[in-house]
């Protein structure tokens, strides 16, 4: 199915901003320029680019530790993002949250959680606020296949359908939860079969198919906004590296690695762009801009000051804690 040509360009730009940022972080980590727990999003760039392109900037997003693609796609500017991950006072969260806890309400990124599954009930609450206020917003939450086995998933889906909340649950099924393969943590073929357990609409989609992914999320968003309730979307994709940067992934079978390489969303999207009559030169110009943006963001982060120890007394409560 064809989508709007400008929209595809938008998706391409979001995708490549994610890819270039991730690449930069991995090279910084590799070179030892900074050290951190880092959950690479390599392989899942397009899933969130297409999803977030289907939303309004004011829509809410709740994501997880592996959420950099979601955050960037939703619009978090790169400078404070880099600074946060590197632990600087100029970070989105003044360095207090770090990569696992990026928050940026201006782009609708309300929570990034490090606890598997905990974002789903929170997304319901954001959707509930929108429903009560009738402000037309919706909430989207992204999580992994592994997260679909935790209690919060179940409770959240049931409640969302019961109240017909304007929320979209996007399961990015990358076939692994840490080192555990999909078939070793559940006995169903698809997470999306679980939608029926709540009377919810469920849709399974190839997350690396930009047109399909965008369309599915757009439809779910329209349904949500129309008061027709939540949707569970299972976006099939691949985690193209280990669970976190540097982690062993020898447990992944050879055939899986090969399949993964074949399905790489980046060359596939590039090809689609050409099909949509974008020229190599146009695309390269976009990449050059993004490269510059990424470099500037990294530089900004490294140049920024560390947070001051007094920050420990600030933001605990509304009132500052006495020294």
């Amino acid at each position: 199915m064809k989508i709007d040509r400008d929209k595809l360009l938008d998706i391409y730009t979001r995708t490549m901003r994610i890819a270039k940022t991730d690449e930069k972080f991995r090279s910084l980590l590799m070179s030892g320029k900074f050290a951190s727990m880092y959950y690479t999003v390599r392989g899942q760039e397009l899933v969130s680019a297409a999803a977030m392109a289907a939303l309004e900037p004011t829509d809410y997003l709740v994501t997880t530790y592996r959420g950099q693609h979601d955050q960037i796609a939703k619009g978090v500017p790169l400078k404070p993002l880099f600074a946060e991950i590197i632990g600087k006072a100029t970070g989105t969260c003044k360095g207090k949250g770090g990569a696992m806890h990026i928050t940026h309400p201006d782009s609708g990124v309300m929570v990034t959680t490090g606890v598997v599954g905990s974002g789903l009930p929170i997304a319901n609450g954001l959707a509930m606020a929108a429903q009560n206020r009738k402000d037309g917003r919706i909430a989207v939450t992204c999580f992994g296949d592994g997260a679909s086995n935790i209690g919060a998933f179940h409770e959240a889906l049931n409640m969302a359908e019961l109240y017909k909340l304007p929320v979209i649950f996007i399961c990015q099924n990358n076939r692994y939860g840490e080192h555990t393969a999909f078939a070793d943590h559940t006995c169903v073929d698809s997470i999306v079969t679980r939608a029926a357990a709540y009377g919810m609409k469920g849709v399974k989609v190839d997350g690396n198919d930009a047109e399909a992914m965008y369309t599915v999320v757009k439809e779910a968003a329209d349904r949500a906004r129309a008061g027709e309730g939540p949707t569970l979307i299972e976006a099939m994709c691949y985690r193209m590296m280990g669970h976190f940067f540097g982690a062993d992934f020898s447990y992944m079978p050879k055939e899986h690695l090969e399949e993964m390489a074949r399905e790489d969303p980046l060359p596939r999207l590039r090809k689609l762009m050409l099909d949509y009559q974008y020229s190599e030169a146009e695309l390269d110009a976009i990449l050059a801009d993004i490269d510059a943006e990424v470099e500037a963001a990294a530089q900004f982060a490294f140049d920024s000051p560390f947070p001051d120890a007094s920050e420990l007394r600030i933001d605990v409560y509304e009132e500052e804690i006495a020294a």
Partner: protein
């Protein structure tokens, strides 16, 4: 203001007032809507009729979903109130409270905050047994970012509830099941009791009893009995457990030189430990006797009434503790 009011009615009034004032105030919990009778303890009776089913939401039995939804709504700027039927059931949803509600303001660098009131009830003495009677306030006091409140009478319940709803941070609001029906002076409409301020429930000069919740009543009764023996007891009702009103407590004990710390929760590692430790830090060398701590026995709360009554601090035990401070010699 003439007349009396029960704690249940006072809580209902506080929530009603807050809901009338601000559309952002909503209530979620099992059985809380009109269709189910307004909550198992009827605290939300009549509110659905006034504010509708979108503001009073009866939920499935899903405490994680309840608290998570409240966290989300609070992040969006609403002022949700969660009713968690009994305190022990918080154990299925500690993650939302501790990892999320308490920390999101800090972890977001102050970009977001969670103005949420988690109402819950508990209490020893009704034969509810091991899984329905725990007092877990010490856990929450240990978590930065949470406030912990518990009233001992109807007027405070009303005033503290209004303050809790107005607070821009998450508040654990603990109601004692045995107090719902107790009457105390009606404070009238729009009564507010600020968080973080203890009350001197009774003045005295010989020994301070520092307590909160239902045991304030026991302490007052014992103080009355001891007055007849010529012992002047001061009773401090913390009202807010965390943040702790160190000023009021320290001033009282500096004056009396003796302290008994009292709560229903298990004594070991309870809030009384922190209070005793702080008193010893602040008043080292000034105390006339070691701080006495009283709390629940070190076991699950037993069901059998005979055992349950031995489990909680008794009035006799409180009296003995005060005597111990009065008669203390090396």
């Amino acid at each position: 203001m003439s007349g009396k009011i029960t704690m249940a009615a006072a809580l209902n009034r506080a929530i009603d007032e807050a809901m009338a004032e601000d559309e952002g105030v909503i209530l979620l919990g099992e059985d809380v809507a009109a269709k189910q009778g307004g909550g198992v303890f009827k605290i939300s009776a009549g509110l659905t009729e006034k504010y509708g089913e979108h503001r009073i939401r009866a939920t499935p039995i899903s405490e994680q979903a309840i608290l998570g939804a409240c966290v989300g709504a609070a992040l969006a700027g609403m002022r949700p109130i969660a009713e968690i039927m009994l305190m022990n059931f918080l154990t299925v949803a500690m993650d939302q409270i501790v990892n999320h509600a308490a920390k999101l303001r800090f972890m977001s660098g102050g970009q977001t905050n969670v103005p949420l009131v988690i109402r819950t009830t508990t209490g020893v003495g009704v034969g509810f047994g091991g899984q329905h009677s725990d007092m877990l306030e010490a856990w929450f006091a240990h978590v930065a970012g949470l406030k912990v409140v518990t009233p001992s009478n109807a007027a405070d319940a009303q005033g503290l509830m209004r303050a809790a709803i107005a607070c821009n941070d998450p508040v654990i609001f603990i109601e004692n099941i045995l107090c719902y029906g107790l009457q105390s002076e009606d404070p009238g409409a729009n009564h507010i009791v600020p968080l973080g301020k203890a009350a001197v429930a009774k003045e005295g000069t010989d020994c301070s009893i520092i307590t909160y919740g239902r045991t304030v009543l026991d302490a007052l009764e014992v103080a009355g009995q001891l007055a007849e023996e010529g012992i002047s007891v001061e009773v401090i009702d913390l009202r807010t457990i965390a943040p702790y009103d160190e000023e009021t407590v320290t001033a009282s004990v500096r004056k009396t030189g003796r302290a008994v710390v009292l709560h229903e929760a298990v004594k070991a590692y309870g809030t009384g430990a922190e209070i005793a430790a702080r008193l010893n830090e602040k008043l080292f060398g000034e105390l006339k006797a070691p701080v006495q701590r009283l709390g629940g026995a070190f076991s699950a709360v037993p069901m059998a009434s005979a055992l349950e009554q031995s489990w909680i601090p008794t009035k006799d035990g409180i009296k003995q503790a005060v005597h111990a401070t009065m008669n203390w010699k090396k």
